[in-house]
């Protein structure tokens, strides 16, 4: 695949690199110096090999839009799905609501959604497949406490068990779960695979091998992930990605710019704050601008920042919350009882703001 070199219209080019290297860089022919091959071998490992697909993560405004849309979903009934036989496509723009025993309900479908026939997984558990096509969307509902919105190009199984909690298992695609009702909803975005969710007013779900567990109280959710604890005070949006765990929750009321900073902080923390200097500058800028409304976010930062950055976060949070009879040094050690006391103080400070 040798091609003719273009004219040398810059005199110093041939002084910068050997003719052999130049030829190789131009058309891949000839034998370059060993270091050229080493550089190419290193960078070649980054060559793109992906396929076109829907974006994996959504930006904040879209999440908030989804949260708002979920608030409009009305509880109708309960249903059971199961796998077995070929799936049947739910036709038309206003598909019928499928109602069965108390479990997850398909509250609405839109576009290309296929619902399979029920099948017996065990004598007491029935399964139904749901496949959401490229332009499809389905909303599930259970009781008044939980809704699940499954985005396009997703697959999930819905189960009803006669003597145990029913569950939804997301095998691919993305889902958005509203885990607390009322006027302070909490949206949890689930990205990727192997997530199962259990319905109920005290909704909980776990994310496969990572054992992410979410429990809800009135107006708040606690997410336990192996590496850290996250608490979400509604109304807020939080996302969970396989391998990354829960992101820093985004308060719905926070300005867009603040959400951007929180996202950036979360990314920086996820990558280990290798650039500690840059990470600490970003953190300092954030701490300089927080108010009492941000106290829950600071609490979540305590769990995430490297040890050397925890003290300034603790000190700033202490300025925002009412005095707590807890040894501040215990906060630096993430003592569970001390952290719980500071969480309650953070919630109060946020709500009084």
């Amino acid at each position: 695949m040798s091609t003719q070199l273009p004219p040398d219209d810059v005199n110093d080019v041939n002084k910068a690199i050997s003719p052999e290297d130049e030829k190789y860089l131009w058309d891949g022919t000839g034998e370059p110096a060993a270091d050229v091959r080493r550089v190419e071998a290193a960078l070649g490992t980054m060559r793109y090999s992906g396929e076109l697909r829907a974006p994996r993560r959504l930006h904040v405004p879209r999440r908030l839009m989804i949260a708002a849309s979920l608030l409009l979903v009305i509880v109708t009934s309960y249903m059971l799905f199961g796998r077995g036989g070929p799936g049947g496509r739910v036709p038309g723009p206003t598909p019928p609501v499928v109602t069965v025993k108390p479990t997850w309900t398909v509250a609405s479908t839109q576009g290309d959604v296929k619902v399979g026939e029920p099948r017996d997984l065990t004598p007491t558990v029935k399964l139904r497949d749901v496949t959401v096509g490229k332009d499809g969307r389905v909303t599930l509902r259970s009781g008044e406490g939980s809704t699940v919105q499954v985005e396009s190009e997703a697959r999930l199984e819905i189960a009803e068990a006669a003597n145990q909690f029913p569950w939804v298992k997301l095998s691919s695609g993305n889902a958005f779960v509203q885990v607390a009702g009322g006027d302070k909803p909490i949206m949890v975005g689930l990205y990727g695979h192997a997530v199962s969710m259990q319905p109920g007013a005290a909704a909980s779900f776990d994310a496969g091998a990572e054992k992410t567990v979410l429990t809800c109280k009135t107006g708040e959710a606690h997410i336990s992930w192996p590496q850290q604890s996250t608490r979400v005070l509604g109304p807020a949006v939080c996302t969970i990605e396989p391998g990354r765990g829960p992101a820093l929750p985004l308060p719905v009321a926070a300005p867009k710019e603040a959400c951007g900073v929180i996202d950036a902080l979360g990314d920086s923390l996820h990558f280990g704050m290798k650039d500690l200097k840059g990470g600490s500058m970003l953190l300092k800028g954030y701490l300089d601008n927080v108010t009492a409304a941000d106290a829950p976010t600071l609490w979540n930062l305590l769990n995430r920042v490297p040890d050397e950055l925890r003290r300034p976060v603790r000190d700033r949070l202490a300025q925002l919350i009412a005095p707590v009879k807890v040894d501040p040094e215990l906060i630096l050690k993430l003592d569970p009882a001390a952290m719980d006391a500071w969480w309650r103080a953070s919630v109060e400070a946020s709500q009084q703001n």
Partner: protein, 204 residues
């Protein structure tokens, strides 16, 4: 010597026109050719794990606007510009970027450079990011995406002569900052000697 097969199957005007009409197969052809190019450019600014996603977003943004493209031959340059804009947006969001680059520039460049020892891809990418824009983009398309000089010219709209200059000067500078090759021994042309800004004047 790269780990994957270089891209092939450069799309033609017919593919662009068909894609503009909504032909998904034509879109797939465009994507298979341009995605590695876009990805390489994004890698110069964004974190590796973000580059895949942003590559997708560049195409998702381009899809509905393709019908407005007046010159099908300019598709590559247009996509590259969308990618640069996406990267710039990402960079503004990542407020640590400048600090990060400053820290990188202070990183001792000549560690782990024993001959025949594989180079750390992230370290090489980080040093590539410190080069002038025209050099780093052209080198990324050559060494990451695996394009040849003529293919880079076609994809970016640069003249072949400009691509050649950018490849040679960029490689010389990259050797210098990595501390490999002849330039590492002190023969590397200075930024002044080889030109700090690269050449984009040859854009067609």
């Amino acid at each position: 010597m790269t780990t994957d097969t270089p891209p092939s199957g450069e799309p033609g005007d017919d593919d662009v026109a068909a894609a503009a009409r909504g032909d998904r197969a034509a879109w797939a052809t465009l994507y298979s050719w341009y995605a590695p190019i876009i990805h390489s450019l994004l890698l110069l600014t964004v974190a590796r794990r973000e580059a895949d996603e942003l590559t997708q977003e560049v195409f998702l943004k381009a899809m509905p606007r393709l019908k407005d493209l007046r010159n099908n031959a300019a598709l590559g340059a247009w996509l590259c510009q969308i990618a640069r804009n996406e990267a710039a947006t990402w960079g503004r969001k990542q407020r640590t970027k400048q600090t990060h680059l400053a820290a990188l520039s202070q990183t001792p460049p000549r560690s782990d450079t024993a001959e025949n020892q594989p180079l750390d891809p992230d370290a090489v990418l980080n040093q590539l990011r410190t080069l002038p824009e025209a050099y780093r983009e052209t080198l990324a398309l050559r060494l990451i995406a695996g394009l040849t000089g003529p293919q880079i010219a076609a994809a970016t709209g640069l003249t072949p002569a400009s691509v050649r200059v950018n490849l040679c000067r960029g490689m010389a500078m990259l050797r210098g900052v990595l501390g490999v090759g002849a330039e590492a021994a002190g023969e590397m042309p200075t930024g002044q000697a080889v030109g700090q800004s690269g050449t984009k004047e040859g854009t067609r």
